[in-house]
Amino acid sequence: MPAVTARDEEMRDLLAYLSRLTRDNQITPEIAEAPSAGAGLSFEQIVHPKLGNWPTYHGNIGGNRHSPLSEINTSNVASLAAKWLFPIPGGQRLEVTPLVVDGVMYVTMANEAYAVDAKNGREIWHYSRPLTSGVVGDAASKINRGVAVLGDKVFMLTDDAHMIALSRIGGQLLWDTQMADYKQHYGGTSAPLVVKDLVLAGTSGGDEGARGFLDAFNVNTGKRAWRFWMMPAKGEPLSETWMGRAIEHGCVTAWLTGSYDPETGLIYWPTGNPCPDFNGDERKGDNLYSSSVVALEPATGKLRWYFQFSPHDLHDWDATETPMLVNADWHGQPRKLLLQANRNGFFYVLDRVTGEFLLGQPFAKKLTWASGIDAKGRPILVPGQEPSVEGTKTCPATSGATNWMSSAYSSATGLYYVMARESCAIFTKSDAWWEPGKSFYGGGARLDPAEPPQKFLRAIDIQTGKIAWEIPQIGGGSTWGGLISTAGGLVFYCDDSGAFAAIDARNGKPLWNFHTNQLWHASPMTYLVDGKQYLAVAAGSNIIAFALP
């Protein structure tokens, strides 16, 4: 920086001005011409990423964590080695998936973002703001799952449910828009998604009585373009699916990143459970659009169709697992599919143009609440599986047969890979009602100590829903790491033991592992820098990157 040339008086006034500059007392300098958005990464380059870029939460805007990279493959993965490590102070259990654009990696924890050199993990810039005291629910646990990028901007959510835009160049704050009031139990944890000139996200607070929505903001101004409410307010259409008082604090938050399909031109966003989680007495009906996927038009946020996986859910089975968009032959005919292994234990295939239900097969063996899915896609309930005052054993447990960890589909194998969990819980219900500053479960769930949960990586044939093969894992059964598949014929996954492991995508044969000795809370990704393939994953408070020697 050049030294400042100024007369005494000018220097005094400048220092007086700078000394008074705070976030809550800003005198914005008047710049004759507003800075333009500039060029940088276009939306086209997000929809069709340059080989080796990972420009969205899942790398692929359709939600499939399958990478076309193949330098690391079944023949050489055994020599894969750690290349660098980037610790994030204060990030004890990172949940972030890194994004990489042209050699720069973007990672986050709550209210902090870093740009690092993807080749060696050296920091380029760091943005931070203090954590918000008084935030409740998941947002109070320092959770942040990552950024979205477009042009010269990086977008992320803050713990108090603001969407912010930072400069990709230097990390400066460009705009800051409050989505909702954190005092109403809203928070921000997910990675936003850019669709054209909008940046989209929902909030956390889905067990705390916050009314869920999906917001779309103009990428340049931060002005809200539209909001789609995931559940009705009292008296609105659909409130007939919410008979009782719970509609006032019904949740249905959209707390994980959705997907977008340029072919159908639709946004697909998954929704959370209704509240109170374990007691449906005050919300009789299907509770739309809880535990569903909604297909929305990006320009307006208008609903095209919806599909509800778990009508009137009583077990906290959010449907926020990624709606994965895949083009494949469906029983011999090419079809635009939406795949999801749902927390309720069933693997679903939908037609994503119309929302038509095509298949629903169990991928968990411990599944007691439904005997199957009917022709319309509605679960066939087993009587007596509702939570009760004395406790009801139901499988899967609250955390579900899978959860928000990433999954992938490989067209080479025709298999859908998912981190599954076999578990059961004793579900109880109570009359406890919504209170400020507290969660709104209306009951509880506990694991049976005699029946500990177990993790499996399962490969599912999407035509039949049958499990082609599986990898039973040894561990506590409660880790949250996901997986990716690659054109190198590999699946990389976060093993319940804490190992980062590579297997043959055809048959699950173990080929490589690296012990992090951490409990997983994040999912992996892969990228190219300087023509060389890397893998990266957040383990504990570190980002670790791997490559061939």
Binding site: M1, P2, A3, V4, T5, A6, D8, E10, M11, R12, D13, L14, L15, A16, Y17, L18, S19, R20, L21, T22, R23, N25, Q26, I27, T28, P29, E30, I31, A32, E33, A34, P35, S36, G38, A39, G40, L41, D102, G103, V104, D117, K119, N120, R122, E123, I124, W125, P130, D152, S167, R168, I169, G170, G171, Q172, L173, L174, W175, V529, D530
Partner: protein, 285 residues
């Protein structure tokens, strides 16, 4: 011997907007540790039009080539902050020098044995009650307890809190509105600095500077740039093996590589690697 050089701005009077080149270009004075050849080890760039002001699209690059030389006129006008009794502060200072400065440094900015305790960037530990607790009982990390009488602790705490007060709590006199005009106008600060989402991206965001720095730190940054220790914002010029030069901001730097944000393309990180082993590539060795 080619060198990695840091721009050293010397100070001379110049016009503010597009001045002619003035004074000598004695810009490149070199740090001995950085006397090495750099080869581009890897390079990945993305052409971006910098959001610049007044239509200067190639602005930063152009301007940097004419990086001007400015004069500082020293003035002393800092006054004793309002609401603080000078006498108490003097007593607190005597205590501080006797008890604290041995470890924390005479200005509290850290010494060999104790950390910086006047950094407003660490607000969590700065509360009055917290300070009293730490002085009375010491810390687990090794600071001994100082079981002083209450009134002495109060005086000492008042002094330390004054030492570490962010600028916004002790704002100096002056016309802040005029200062804002100077900032955006004659001072040309917005070329590199952002406030509230407006301005450049080469320098640190100043939107909250009043809480992040003390008055003395801000003043020092204005008068003696480069001495404020802002890592990640140093302007550098790299001489490459092919004889060319790239200039930009060193976002990060190690013995082995460097993350350069060039002036010409905004989002461009180059990590040159020192070719200390290669005699072929470096004729001067």
């Amino acid at each position: 011997m080619h060198s990695l050089c840091i721009f050293q701005q010397t100070f001379a009077r110049a016009k503010w907007r597009f001045p002619n080149m003035v004074a000598s270009r004695k810009l490149e004075s070199c740090f001995p540790l950085q006397n090495r050849m750099w080869g581009i080890d890897h390079e990945y760039c993305e052409a971006v039009n910098l959001p610049t002001r007044r239509g200067l699209n190639s602005g930063i690059g152009e301007i940097s080539k004419e990086m001007k030389i400015y004069r500082v006129i020293l003035v002393a006008f800092l006054s004793v902050p309002q609401g603080i009794v000078a006498q108490d502060l003097a007593a607190g200072k005597t205590q501080f020098v006797a008890l604290c400065s041995g470890c924390h440094g005479s200005d509290g900015a850290g010494g060999e044995h104790g950390p910086n305790i006047v950094d407003p960037g660490r607000p969590a530990r700065g509360g009055r009650e917290n300070l009293i607790e730490v002085i009375k009982h010491g810390t687990e990390s090794g600071m001994p307890a100082f079981p002083l009488p209450e009134n002495q602790i109060a005086t000492l705490v008042a002094y330390v809190r004054d030492l570490r007060a962010p600028a916004a709590e002790r704002p100096p006199q002056g016309n802040a509105e005029n200062g804002a005009r100077f900032f955006a106008g004659q001072g040309d600060c917005t070329r590199c600095h952002m406030v509230n989402g407006s301005g450049g991206t080469l320098g640190p965001d100043l939107s909250n500077i009043g809480r992040e720095r003390r008055v003395q730190q801000i003043e020092q940054a204005l008068r003696q740039p480069g001495t404020s220790g802002m890592a990640g914002y140093q302007a550098v010029s790299l001489r490459l093996l092919d004889g060319s030069t790239v200039r930009g901001v060193a976002r990060n730097e190690s013995t082995f590589d460097l993350q350069l944000q060039t002036f010409e393309t905004a989002i461009c990180v180059r990590s040159p690697r020192a070719r200390s082993r290669s005699s072929r590539a470096s004729p001067s060795r």
